[in-house]
Every structure is written in C-alpha cells, then in structure tokens.
C-alpha cells in the first residue's frame, strides 16, 4: 500500500492534443479517490499515466516514495480493472487470477492460497474452471476484481468498471467495491463519468473538466459548496438550478437579499426550493411536467416573469397537478452565488 503523488503532470498526445494541463493531486495511503467528469475530460488519460500505459509528457508521478515516470507498468506494482474487464478469453477463471502471480514467480502454494481466498471473497469459487465467455457480465466483473486483489498491489486503478453492467447490477457492484476497498484498505483511484457512482464511492472526489481539476474534496462538501458553475451543474441529480441575478432582482424587488460583489448567477438545489412557506425570494410559476420517482417528485416549473424552467424536488407525492400554478420561495440560506465570467463561486 502506498500514497500516490501527482506533481505538475501534463499530457500532450501526438498531434498536439493537450489532454491534461499541469495537474497536481495527492492521494493518501488507503484512500479511495474518484475522478469524475464528462467524457473526454482526461480521466482515463490520468489513470493510464499512473498505470504506466501512457507516457508522462511533463511532471512526476510517485507511488509510495518512488518516482515511477520511467517504470514499466509491471514494476509499479499496481492493478487495474478495465471497463471491458480485459479477461484473457482463452484462460479459465483460475488461470486469469494466477497469471499475474505466476509472472512474478510467486510460489505455487502461495498462489493457491491467494486465489482460493480471492475467489471466496468475491464468491466466484464455483466458476474457477470456467472460461470468461461462460460467465455473465456481473461474474466477469467479479473475476476482473479478483485478478486485481490476488496481486495485493500497492494501488487499485479502476477505469469505469461498471459501465457495461445494467443499472441494478451496477448498484450492487458499487456497494461491493466500496466494501472491498474499506476492508482491504488499498489505495484506489476510480474513474467514472457517473456522478452518483462518484458520490457514493469516494472518500475524496476529484471533479475534472477539460484536462484540469475543477474541485477536490469530500463528496458532500462538493455538493454543499460547489466551487464553480461546472461543479454545481455536474454534481447532484437533478442538477442545480442556475438563475441570472438581474432577472431575479427585477422579480424579487425588496425581497432580494444583499449579494457579495461580483455575484451574477444564483444557484439553488432542486430540493432547496420550498413550496408555500416564507422567508426568502417568493416566486410563482406554472407546473409544466411532473416526474413521480416514487419517494419524491420532480416538478418542472416555468417561472412567471423570467422565461426559465426551474426543477423542484418535493418529498412524497406532489399536491399540485400539471398546468396548475404553484407558489414557492428560494430560501436565502440555500442560495449559491457564482460569477459568470470566471465561473467561480462568490462568497
């Protein structure tokens, strides 16, 4: 086990494609860090540089106390779980698990002990003699995890490992990965574009955008205090409502609170808006659409006076119907201020 230190790392692909711009990140020993961001933001590139599958254009990556820039993937003592699992199709599950240990000259009895243990933990013992193509998606995923844990590496690297599973299985595997990582306490870097997966798995969340880090922190801190418009829009589902200040000021009149210098966009989470109630900016609008999601309902409301649709999350069943008018308030404490030009949060 080890910490991972990324200092001033850049990646330029042939053809002058700048995938990562001078990036710093420290990952502590035993921590699970999730890299999240839209497709093409450079998550996989960063992960593959840690793994040694891509060269590092500039800067240094250290695992433990060693700078690994010049080391082969095999010498970095990390394990990786790929999106397509990358199981060796011509080998049985057992051979897949053994491959990495054999290549490192692990003694036979030690190999058997570790494979048996990993198979037990992941509940794949009954499939050990099968070929990957005889397994379901979820079982393959477990084998891919098994191949990582038998190695007892310094770090696990995951590149969207759950993307190929259906929603239900994805939920289950997410919990299992979390539990496994907690038990083994192996430093992990997990890449995903799914913000829910990111929020639930991460000790620390790294939101990336266009090859740069937007914000790093505990998932709940990022949710509560997004540092930029990008993070505000990316973390949380349904996404945060963003309203231009001038339009709101015209509507709210005296109810408009005093805002810090430079605030020109206000954000509010869909569950922060209160239907009825008082003590905030009072607004009203027409319900265009209701999505009942079971325990809560999502209301799409077109605000009167400003031509914008806000999303409201109500607990339980909605008391209003579509096309009806609804009054609500934006509580001042729930508002987030942003500057449009810099895209940054304003305090």
């Amino acid at each position: 086990m080890a910490s991972i230190d990324i200092k001033g790392v850049r990646k330029v692909y042939p053809g002058n494609v700048k995938a990562i711009h001078a990036l710093d990140l420290s990952i502590e020993d035993g921590e699970m860090v999730v890299l999240v961001g839209p497709s093409g933001c450079g998550k996989s590139t960063l992960l593959r540089m840690i793994a040694g599958l891509e060269t590092i254009t500039d800067g240094t990556i250290s695992i433990g106390s060693d700078v690994v820039n010049r080391k082969e993937p095999a010498e970095r003592d990390i394990a990786m779980v790929f999106q397509n699992y990358a199981l060796y199709p011509h080998m049985s599950v057992r051979q897949n698990l053994e491959y990495g240990l054999k290549n490192r000259g692990t003694p036979r009895d030690e190999i058997d002990r570790r494979v048996t243990e990993a198979a037990r933990i992941l509940e794949i013992t009954p499939f050990l003699e099968r070929k990957p193509r005889q397994l379901s998606g979820g079982q393959r995923q477990r084998v891919a995890m098994g191949r990582a844990i038998v190695r007892q590496p310094k770090a696990f690297l995951f590149d969207e490992p759950l993307s190929n599973l259906d929603a239900k299985l994805r939920g289950q595997m997410r919990i299992e990965i979390r539990r496994l990582q907690r038990n083994l306490k192996t430093t992990s870097v997990y890449v995903t574009h799914d913000q829910l997966e990111a929020m639930t798995l991460a000790d620390r969340l790294v939101v990336m955008n266009g090859g740069r880090i937007e914000q790093v922190g505990k998932p709940i801190d990022l949710y509560d205090r997004p540092a930029s418009l990008f993070v505000a829009g990316f973390i949380g589902s349904p996404p945060m409502n963003l309203i231009p200040v001038e339009q709101l000021r015209a509507l709210a009149g005296a109810a408009m609170p005093v805002l810090p210098e430079g605030t020109d966009i206000l954000g509010i989470r869909p569950d922060g808006i209160m239907v009825g109630g008082s003590g905030g900016i009072p607004l009203s609008g027409v319900v265009e659409l209701i999505e009942p999601v079971g325990g809560e309902s999502h209301l799409y409301v077109r605000v009167e006076g400003i031509d914008q649709v806000l999303i409201l999350v109500l607990q339980g069943r909605a008391e209003v119907a579509e096309t009806e008018r609804v009054d609500f308030v934006l509580p001042v404490a729930a508002l987030h201020g942003f500057n449009r030009e810099s895209g940054k949060r304003v305090e």
Partner: protein
Amino acid sequence: MDTKRTVFPSQGLPYLLVAPQIIITLIFFIWPAGQAVKSSFEREDPFGLATSFVGLSHYVRLFQDPAYLASIGRTAVFALAVTVISMGLALILAVAVNRLIRSATTYSTLLLWPYAVSPVVAGILWWFLFNSSTGILPYMLSFFGVDWNHQLNGTHAMILIIVAASWKQISYNFLFFLAGMQSVPQSLNEAAAIDGAGPFKRFWTIVFPLLSPTTFFLLIVNLNYTMFDTFGVIDATTTGGPNQATNILVYKVYTDGYIGLNLGSSSAQSVILMLFVIALTVIQFRYVERRVQY
C-alpha cells in the same frame, strides 16, 4: 441474429441468377472430375481406340511404385517447408507491422504485392535470381563456399521451389495474421503488461493463443496451396527436375499424364489428390469454426 431475406417477385429468378455459376462449376469442375474418376478405373490402348475396365489396378500399382512413394515424401517435405516458412515469416512481419502506428498501411500494401504476382512469374523471378550463371544469389552464395546449381543439384532445386512458393504465400498469411492481431483487444495486452508479462511473454501467452483460429485456418489453406496450387511455380523453374527431385504429386499428375501419356495412372493420382483436398476442406469446415475457439 437477424437474417436478411430477399423476396423475389418470381420463383424462377433466383435459380436463373445462380445458373451461370452452377454451369461453370459443372463444366469446368464436376464434369472433368467425373471423367478423371472414370478413367482411373480404365485402361486405354496406345491409340485411344479401346478402353477396358481394370478396377483398382492403377491405384494398387501406384502404391507399389517407388517413384510415386518418393514423390509423396518430396511433397510432404515441400508442403511442410513452405507452410512453416511462409507462416513463420508472415507472423514475424505481422508482429512488426502491428507495432507501427503511422506507416502500418504503407507497409501492409507493399507486403501484399507478391500475392498479386502470378505463380509462373514468381517462379521465373526466383529462377533468375538463382540462375547459376547470371543470378545474384548464387554469386553471393559463392562467397560462403556454396556452389549453387539447381539444374544439377536436387537439394538446391528443392530449396529454389520452396523459396519461390513461400515468397508468394507470405503476403496472404501476413494479411490474415495482421487482421487477427488487430482484432486482439489492446486492453488484453495492457492487462498482461500490468500483470508483469514482458512483450515476448505477452505475445506467446496472450496474442498467439488468441490467433489460433487464424493459424489453423492458414495451416489448412497453405497445405492446400502447396499441394495443389504450385504447378506454375514448378513448371516455370525446375519442371520437376533434376532427376525427379522436385517432382511433387501435383506435377507428377501432369508429367505422367501429358508427357508419359499414362492417362489411367495420372487419373488415379489426381483422384487421390482430390480426396486429399476434400479431406482438408472437411477438417477446415468442421474444426475451424468450433474446436479452435477460445
């Protein structure tokens, strides 16, 4: 899986459309093959006026004929050598080209050219290169103390036809190996690299086993090629000589039939070859699809 079905307006049209292919196959393949089978059981008098049924006697005599048995041995040597050399070199070239990122297509195209050359021209090309008085290769070999003369030396002649036949076949094998390698997902190589396998080990434990369907397919195709499709190469270079040293089965059918005018024996030989090609094809169809999968 969905299967596309085309509905024809009239019942007869589909048959009409496949008719040319069927007719060509009947006239140029099935009918001559039938004739060969028939005449392999018959003896014809020297003037071609009378034929008599002789049963299996052509076959029996063939397998008692030391010249025929020797030809089987030579064919085996030739077929195995060409298959091993052309597949081996093709594999090495495919590995090399597969590592290239930018110029891969250029190299692939250049490596394909020999395949476009007809067997006769390929044979003549190598005959010139190996010509004992004017060729460049004998000149170079002379520095190593080799006195090259494929017109007198049977081993030299065999090497010549092996080289000429392999050279042509490398292109074909290369293309299949390259396509096979490119269909091995890159992530498998990466996973193996992380699992501590060096490039050499990755090739032998991951890529090569995954190529086994391609390898098996090529094995059959190459055996077929060397045994039946190399007439042109031999006719253009050694014409079976010197002293029968390169008279492989397919060429012997011709020499015994058209030059020796022993049509019965020649027919029996071609029937044996035909059975062989049928056997290889059956193996290919039965096993390529199923057993050599992973």
